[in-house]
Amino acid sequence: MTEKLYSISIEVNGVHRTAQVPARRPLADWLREDLHLTGTHLGCEHGVCGACSVMLDEEPVRSCLMYAVQADGHRVTTVEGLARPDGSMSVLQDSFCQAHALQCGYCTPGMLIAAQGLLDAHPRPTDRQIREAIGGNLCRCTGYQQIVEAVRLAADRMAEESK
């Protein structure tokens, strides 16, 4: 059986992409398998673990909980899009390294997207806001404490840099 294909046009990390996809192609699978942007991780594939979080029009969402065809006409930012233009790590990414906020790294892309979404909306978040922001992302290694510290560190460093 041949499935009907739908034309989509999506801006991914600032690059205009067009494709033909079946309606049932999850956004996460399209990013990973068609665009080879494998930074977005898939853990549970049904909206529980948060590893697949991406920005849709600047807001963090789960990319396993929408179909690529639904993102037609929108902007998507994946973890690959968080780095600086020269490819070096962003302040937030570097803070994750500094604070030992990852071990196996599987949850990290989702954690970074969730944390970036928080910092975009609240540049100086409280610990409570940090915990709430990453509350939808599972990590089985760190115990979360260092992730909270990393986000706090990133906020401090960004505030310092903008002085």
Binding site: P22, R24, P26, H46, V61, R62, M66, G117, G136
Partner: protein, 290 residues
């Protein structure tokens, strides 16, 4: 986990959505935020022939405050509802409930109307609609009809919405009493999960501290979320002392018909209903006294 193959239509207006529903019949499934529907499709518990996407209908996304009603478009994102300070000042229970709904990423995509139409008996927004007596505006090709929350939820994951109707907007009553307080509380396995049991209350006091208006309900304890207008009426005229609060909460727990599952027995849910019901009423009272 992949859904069955389906076709996709992105509606550009509510009229177009109703036309598709009329034309395609039972094969169609409406998708709003998809935060509950997409997992069900991934597990193939839902197998639509055609997915009708209403996410791009701008006319379904609005928050409009009128004198005694807050009108919210069905496809308004939960995150927008949560962030709206003017709305929170008039319908405080909505923001209080949304704090328990999923996570930041799911609230950015999930919609107010989607949660109500999905009608999970453990979900927070259906309980909020029941307690406040929200009114659902259902649109079909023949026109619109308005259904109060008490008639809208007909069973677990079931509403009276017809196969050719679409939830268009939701009307939330604004209480005019100056000393109004509300509270939402629940117990779940993890924060952001559906509630094992949830409780919500809204109360208004007169200048003397006497209760003049009360609404109260429980989620997760029956086939639909429950409101208890007769029990809430027993709070009116009292000073909400501990004895009356306990008696109302315990009578509500006794009237509930909770089921058992892997996570909680029926008896435990009934116990939670009494404890959380009293807690919600006490917290709403504290808010009203501020």
């Amino acid at each position: 986990m992949k859904p069955v193959p389906f076709e996709y239509v992105r509606a550009s207006s509510i009229g177009e959505a109703c036309d598709v529903l009329q034309r395609e019949g039972d094969a169609v499934k409406l998708i709003a935020g998809g935060q509950s529907l997409v997992p069900l499709m991934a597990m193939r518990l839902v197998r639509p022939g055609l997915l009708l996407d209403i996410n791009e209908i701008a006319a379904l996304k609005f928050i409009s405050l009128e004198t005694d009603t807050a009108r919210i478009g069905a496809c308004t994102r939960q995150a927008l509802v949560e962030r709206d300070g003017a709305l929170a000042a008039r319908v405080p229970l909505l923001r209080q409930a949304l704090a328990w709904v999923g996570h930041a990423q799911t609230r950015n995509r999930g919609t107010l109307g989607g949660s109500l139409a999905h009608a999970d008996p453990c979900a927070e927004l259906p309980l909020t609609a029941q307690v406040l007596g929200a009114r659902m505006v259902l649109r079909g090709t023949a026109g619109t009809r308005i259904v109060p929350a008490g008639d809208f939820f007909s069973g677990p994951m079931m509403t009276v919405t017809g196969p050719q109707e679409c939830l268009e907007e939701v009307h939330w009553p604004i209480w005019s009493e100056p000393r109004t307080g509300s509270a939402f509380t629940e117990i779940s396995n993890r924060h952001g999960d559906f509630a094992m049991v949830a409780a919500a209350a809204q109360l208004a006091l007169d200048g003397d501290g006497r209760c003049v208006r009360a609404a109260f309900g429980l989620g997760g304890v029956d086939q639909t979320p429950l409101a208890f207008p007769q029990l809430a009426a027993r709070l009116v005229g009292t000073r909400l002392d501990e004895a009356v609060v306990q008696s109302v909460a315990q009578d509500a727990a006794a009237a509930a018909r909770p089921g058992s599952d892997l996570f909680a027995t029926s008896a435990y849910r009934r116990h939670l209903a009494g404890v959380l019901g009293a807690r919600a009423i006490r917290s709403a009272h504290e808010q009203a006294r501020l």
